[in-house]
Amino acid sequence: MINWGNFISQCFNGLVLGALLALISSGLTIIYGTLGVLNLAHGAMFMLGGYAGWVAYTYTGSFIAAVIAGSLFVMLVGVVVERVIIRYFYARPHEDQLLVTFGLGIVFVEAVRFFFGSLSKAVPPPPSLVGITNLGFMFYPTYRIALLGIVAIALLALYFVLYRTRIGMIVRAGIEDSVMVDSLGIDVYKVFMLVFGIGAMAAGFAGIVNAPVVSIAPDVGEAILVQTFVVVVIGGVGSFPGAVLGGLIAGEIISITSMFNPGYAYVMLFVAMTLVLVLRPYGLLGTAGRE
């Protein structure tokens, strides 16, 4: 289906797809940039957000309540996990951090499978966003269009916290040099806990706002995690704007490639990642030497 109509449709679809990837990736990149911990449980946290939201939705019937519950629950999980487990791994080798977060991810997924089973659960979008909208070049699900706005607001809020508040300044300073921040008398551990909580919340929020698009199941985070890593690598490890840019690029690559040959959509994503790694090893907006 190579024609202009489809090209415009796919460009738009890539934007929506990319926005969502950007949101999930931003949480991952903030945590990695600040704490140096590659959180392999990020996909599981995305999934937890969906389930916490689904439970809230089942009891209240309100989508807003679901979004709040999904975000706050995963933030709480993030804070507890950081305080109880992750904190003891900052000084340990990266392999240990990968193993412990990978293990945490398995525990989350299997716990959810134990309680809720493998059958997928659907969270319907709010009634006002049900249905399809005529964009002129194609009919597009209304909720997906709204998702573009929802994600934009969430990313702006994250941006505001990171770049316009004192706490954000400390976090960004922590990304650059956590030892220096510590020696300035700031309780860097409190900041770390908060950062982990914010990163987890971004995953949880993404998990619940994504639920009306992709119905949730215990494994919903697994595939997302892989794509998120690709986004972070393309955008630049630890860079918040990089995650947003990487997400949008990934979305467009997947969408536009599939217009030519759907079988190569994800192949091209990895080709792009490889190209970035070869030509700009620190990612498009990353900085050399950042860990």
């Binding site: 890539g14 499978r113 194609m138």
Partner: protein
């Protein structure tokens, strides 16, 4: 339990093994008067896990089945079918005896023990797990697969290890086609029979020269089913495949594929995706407004699809399947199976569970009829092609490719208001006899390989 390096002993010929084999053979020949056994024990040298695996009072069988990932829901259902079959073999259940009359309590006087591992529908994982079961537990039968990629891998592995394999769910033409093996057997329907069963129904109901978009998972099952179905519709009714959207197994967001379909001018979506991929792609096609604008067709039924997407979405949808529980009105064995299963697990089984149950029951039949666990004897029993009763009427194995000749069931999704109970999603329209649906045994390049 024996150590893993015992495995090498199986392939070599030790004096002790020959004596054991000889004793076993003489024992079985005394039990089975008139049964042909070689005069010399050396004619049946140890092979695979035989005789080590069948010397105790228990024989082990193993399933590598997806309990996580895209096919987790279907895998759990399959597993229940195997569990019920093993229970029925061990207690000599009347249903089991209808299929395998010589089963008493246990098989040839031995209890059957089922070992299970989660394959995640990944071929390498499944092979590794079965290898462990062979080494440590001397399993005499392996099963598993909800993905044909796993079935094909285990086929090859079974032939190499000389341990029998009965497939779980596997819809690819290749499983009993170009990737068939002497040690592998398939009970269920597959791409070609699905296409030849549902094709005429589609043409009869929707006419000729229609435009269809296909959604295909990117592996052997998807490609062969899409080819069989599209070939039928194109060659027999002038349909056009306007687009074929190939997606990787485990895709979550189908929007880019659906965008292509939205711009393709298709009148039908033939969704070959399976498991969670089918659930998500169908739900998202609805979100995009493609359903009900385009008619959905399911050529290879997905257990629990209707339950997961809701009957509003499957209403009026035509599908080809292996088994549906309302066949209990037509076949006495189906009724017995559905009742036993429902009693044990609290829901009416889907076709995956029926397939697992039948594949084990048939294996029990073949072993008990052969009167031996010796793999070549069991294989030859399958290859006799005897007709026997099943949950879908009389069936038999085709010796040339080890495919069961069995009917394909055509169903149509019921409207929510017509459902008699909460599991009454599909109406059986037709039970299409199997033999005419099948390709010639060598048409897909099947070469079975050696017995020993």
């Amino acid at each position: 339990m024996t150590s893993s390096n015992d495995k090498s002993d199986n392939n070599g010929l030790s004096r002790r093994r020959v004596l054991q084999a000889g004793a076993g053979l003489m024992g079985s020949s005394m039990l089975m008067p008139g049964f042909m056994v070689p005069v010399f024990a050396a004619d049946k040298p140890p092979i695979g896990t035989w005789p080590a695996g069948s010397q105790g009072d228990t024989v082990n069988v193993a399933a590598a089945v997806p309990r996580t990932g895209t096919y987790a829901v279907q895998g759990e259902d399959e597993l229940k079918g195997w569990q019920l079959a093993v229970e029925h073999i061990n207690n000599g259940d009347p249903l089991m005896k209808k299929i395998a009359p010589k089963v008493t309590k246990g098989l040839l006087g031995k209890k059957v023990n089922l070992l299970v591992a989660d394959s995640g529908a990944k071929p390498n994982q499944a092979v590794q797990e079965i290898q462990t079961f062979i080494n440590q537990n001397k399993i005499i039968l392996m099963t598993g697969s909800t993905s044909s990629a796993v079935a094909v891998a285990l086929n090859k592995f079974a032939q190499r290890e000389k341990v029998l394999y009965v497939t779980g769910i596997s819809g690819s033409n290749d499983t009993t086609g170009k990737d068939c093996v002497r040690y592998g057997f398939r009970q269920n329907f597959y791409g070609e029979t699905a296409a030849n069963a549902i094709g005429p129904v589609l043409v009869k109901n929707f006419g000729k020269n229609r435009k269809a978009a296909f959604m295909t998972p990117d592996y052997t099952y998807g490609h062969t089913v899409t080819k069989s179905v599209s070939d039928y519709l194109i060659q027999n009714a002038g349909w056009t495949m306007v687009t074929n959207q190939v997606s990787p197994l485990g895709t979550q967001d189908f929007s880019q594929y659906l965008t292509n379909i939205a711009n393709s001018g298709a009148e039908f979506i033939v969704n070959v995706n399976w498991g969670r991929d089918a659930v998500l792609s169908t739900q998202q096609a609805k979100q995009f407004g493609l359903i009900p604008k385009m008619k959905l067709v399911i050529p290879y039924q997905i257990p629990f699809l209707a339950k997961e997407v809701g009957p509003e979405l499957t209403e009026g949808v035509y599908a080809a399947t292996d088994f549906w529980w309302t066949l209990e009105d037509k076949y006495p064995l189906a009724k017995m199976f559905v009742e036993s299963f429902n009693k044990k697990f609290g829901y009416r089984p889907e076709w995956g569970a029926n397939n697992s149950y039948m594949s084990f029951a048939i294996w029990a039949r073949m072993v008990s009829e052969a009167g031996s666990f010796y793999p070549p004897d069991v294989i030859k029993q399958y290859e006799k092609g005897e007709t026997f009763d099943s949950t879908v009427g009389e069936v038999h194995f085709r010796p040339e490719d080890h495919q069961l000749v069995r009917p394909v069931i055509i169903v149509r999704g019921k409207a929510p208001k017509d459902m008699r109970n909460k599991e009454d999603y599909w109406e059986v329209l037709e039970v299409v006899p199997g033999a005419p649906l099948m390709q010639k045994p060598d048409a897909f390049g099947c070469k079975l390989g050696d017995y020993t």
